[in-house]
């Protein structure tokens, strides 16, 4: 999918978990990504992150290390 679309989708997930109480937001984002994103989508995200991850929420960058 287009990088813009992927960034939007990932940031939407981050926005939700950011609003939740607790301190484990990036873990919960990572868990959500592992549970619902097919491996090629996660791979695309990880490769995008390794290229700098422009536009991604900081929590997504953190979560990408955990998936």
């Amino acid at each position: 999918m287009s990088p813009e679309k992927m960034v939007t989708m990932a940031n939407q997930i981050a926005t939700f978990f950011k609003s939740q109480p607790g301190t484990d937001q990036s873990d919960r984002i990572a868990a959500h990504l592992s549970d619902f994103w097919d491996p090629r989508m996660r791979a695309q995200l990880q490769s995008y992150v390794s290229e700098g991850g422009k536009g991604l929420d900081a929590l997504v960058l953190e979560a990408a290390q955990k998936i």
Partner: protein
Amino acid sequence: MKDLIIPWDADRDFGTPAKEGKPVTLTIDGFEVTVPEGTSVMRAASEAGMQIPKLCATDSLEAFGSCRLCVVEIEGRRGTPASCTTPVAEGMVVHTQSQKVKKIRKGVMELYISDHPLDCLTCAANGDCELQDMAGMVGLRDVRYEAPQTGGLANHFEARNTSGEANAEWLPKDDSNPYFTYDPAKCIVCSRCVRACEEVQGTFALTIEGRGFGSRVSAGAANDSFLTSDCVSCGACVQACPTATLQEKSVIELGTPERSVVTTCAYCGVGCSFKAELNGDDLVRMVPYKHGKANRGHSCVKGRFAYGYATHSDRILNPMIRDSIDQPWKEVSWDEALSFAATKMRGLQETYGRRSIGVITSSRCTNEETYLVQKLARGVFGNNNTDTCARVCHSPTGYGLGQTFGTSAGTQDFDSVEHTDVVIVIGANPTDGHPVFASRLKKRLRAGAQLIVIDPRRIDLVKSAHIKAAHHLPLRPGTNVSVVTSLAHVIVTEGLMDEAFIRERCDWEEFQEYAEFVSDPRHSPEANEMLTGVPAEELRKAARLFATGGNGAIYYGLGVTEHSQGSTTVMGIANLAMLTGNIGRKGVGVNPLRGQNNVQGSCDMGSFPHELPGYRHVKLPEVREIFEKAWGVEIDPEPGLRIPNMLDAAVDGTFKGLYCQGEDILQSDPDTKHVAAGLAAMECVIVHDLFLNETANYAHVFLPGSTFLEKDGTFTNAERRINRVRKVMAPRNGYADWEVTQLLANAMGAGWHYTHPSQIMEEIAATTPGFANVTYDMLEERGSVQWPCNDSAPDGTPLMHVDGFVRGKGRFIVTEYVATDERTGPRFPLLLTTGRILSQYNVGAQTRRTANSVWHEEDVLEIHPHDAENRGLNDGDWVRLASRSGETTLRAKITDRVSPGVVYTTFHHPDTQANVITTDFSDWATNCPEYKVTAVQVAPSNGPSEWQEDYNAQAAQSRRILPAAE
């Protein structure tokens, strides 16, 4: 009492409705009978096995007491009371066949017959006429009322008298409705039709006009026909009519049916039970089944009448293949089509990898069929690339209710509405989308329950005959979360929550975090009034009513789920139910109104790419092990692609083959251009459907499907009710859909050997805990059962979360409002929201191929007079509707149902393709598309857009079929 019930006829009419109350014992014709207090003498006699003659009474309606045929004598009472309106009393002694009442009945019948044509042999109701039956039952042998020599006898049935003069009392037949006729000449003015329209359907379209001998049934106002009146063609009046006055045109044409099969409607998620009545394999009519637990004998225009698509000439009955989509279709044998498809799919996997192909299961097909399609992906393709149309409708329900309550399903049965005091309807339009449930809801509202409607449009429930919502919160599309959170704010800050329930049933610590969040003044209705457009005071009143008005139930639809924050709103709704203690008993609960007939079932059956049947994640080894043992294969532990992801991956070149059963993603899914690009990029698209649908324009293999009339199986409706679908006739295409899937699987080397869907249900029961005790034998015996049905709930589960939530403690989840990225601006200043209409269904593939199109032959754009005036638009003008995704043209309908700034349309017609407008934004958790909010502009137009012309040209090109080779 029970042993007196003679089970010789399940359709017996008891004359008046069943009552609940303490037992009362009386004697009827020497037999002692015990019935609940409030029961009529007529019903008591019927329960004792004795039918009292009757005409104006039927057990779907309250007694009316007009025909006087059911008179009886009661010892110690004067006169001859009507047994339908006389309640039983302890010790009462009733005589139903005394000389006196027999004489009265004959006299009554004689009068009726004196004003009725005696054309019984050629009458459409011959053999199915209660007037005929009653004349026989009372032993009427002569009619003494003869016309005197000097002139005719006043009557309603002769168009002209013997001198050729017109009879002013005669009215012509009204055949304006496509499905039934009204012949006033045959009417006995028993008022059953008028009462059915009021009591059962709740439309109040019919009335008795005039008085005395001039009394006539009339639809709408003086100049209305049935078609132009408010009549919604539900068929309740036709069902209630004891004569041929209101008669199905199909019966007039085909004759009275001689056999019937009980089955389940294949339209919406209400899942009505019907009797398919036939002669041989000629379907004469569909009649709502009075013992159907979802519909209780009622129906809507779709299930009752719109089945003609099954025999429509557009139906494709032979398999077809082609190498590329610019070629015409070639009709081939099943073997050739299946081996072509299997070779292609296997070849794609060899070239592009195991995960390069997938399936879309159908929410219109049976549980057994859906189960097989996902098994095909998991067990034969070796991946989890399976998804279903629930992706684009209720996937947020799955996620949201799973997170809060622990399971993805409505908590109640439909009967529950009879115990509700306050109803919230949010993002749903039941009178159009779920009409039979709407009738049951309206009945409860007329009995005094209060209603809160949260919807951008003024839907019919807000105000219609004898219904008025206490509060309508006309929110701006996209602000559901804000409104729901504000409702919770009022409940919490005003201390209206049910603390005892929360302490006992929910996680108290999470509740406190939630309460702190929701109490923040930024969530007050006043703070959000500008954003949501909902007057703060009205919202406060609505919140107070819901929290304090007694049993509160929430019903919601796709106006909740199809948003960027769909899942969050579902959680917000669950929060509201928990806050107010409205979970776990009759009359309360969270009730998603499911779109398609088997959306619930397709989700239950593991259609989603992340979970196996029974909502268990594929990552769990213990769950995979169950299926690995049952299927003898290894199951991929990684989640597969969801529908939008499949299309993205197709455009990227990593997803190449799709088997799509009974689903038309090109028309139904958002951002049509993107869907078309995805389909065009695939190398093998297999469409398995009744018709060459829009998706088939991009297909390489077409496998003809079977209708719900042509196969056995089960559907699961919105109340988790598993209902039997029974084969009424042989499949015209040669195979039931489960057989087609099996053939495809076997062509790919699966080695499946199912010979009947009951064997598939056995496999489902063996692998899925919620279905553990479900068998076809059980369904045969009980009619239906609501899951979970297993050793801990052997009778099924009408109400969920009764003693505790499925997940243990209910979870309150913080619901922060996040504005969608889809925003209005100078280029696209209006918000488009979409929905459906009563007479059409989803993409219209079925209903457009029936006479239902007389009510809705094209999609129109509803626009507020203010916005229309700004743009110089008149009612009926062609308008161009454009978003950043695309543009189309359709006709404008100017109405204040929508607020200024909001426009609305339906997506039933491919010529309009409303989804070329909708965008690729989706729910954050599930990718459920944001159909309900698109920024658009509307402008005058001369005709179809360039895109529409290109689309139609491509479709016409793609639908060519070469004749089969000799």
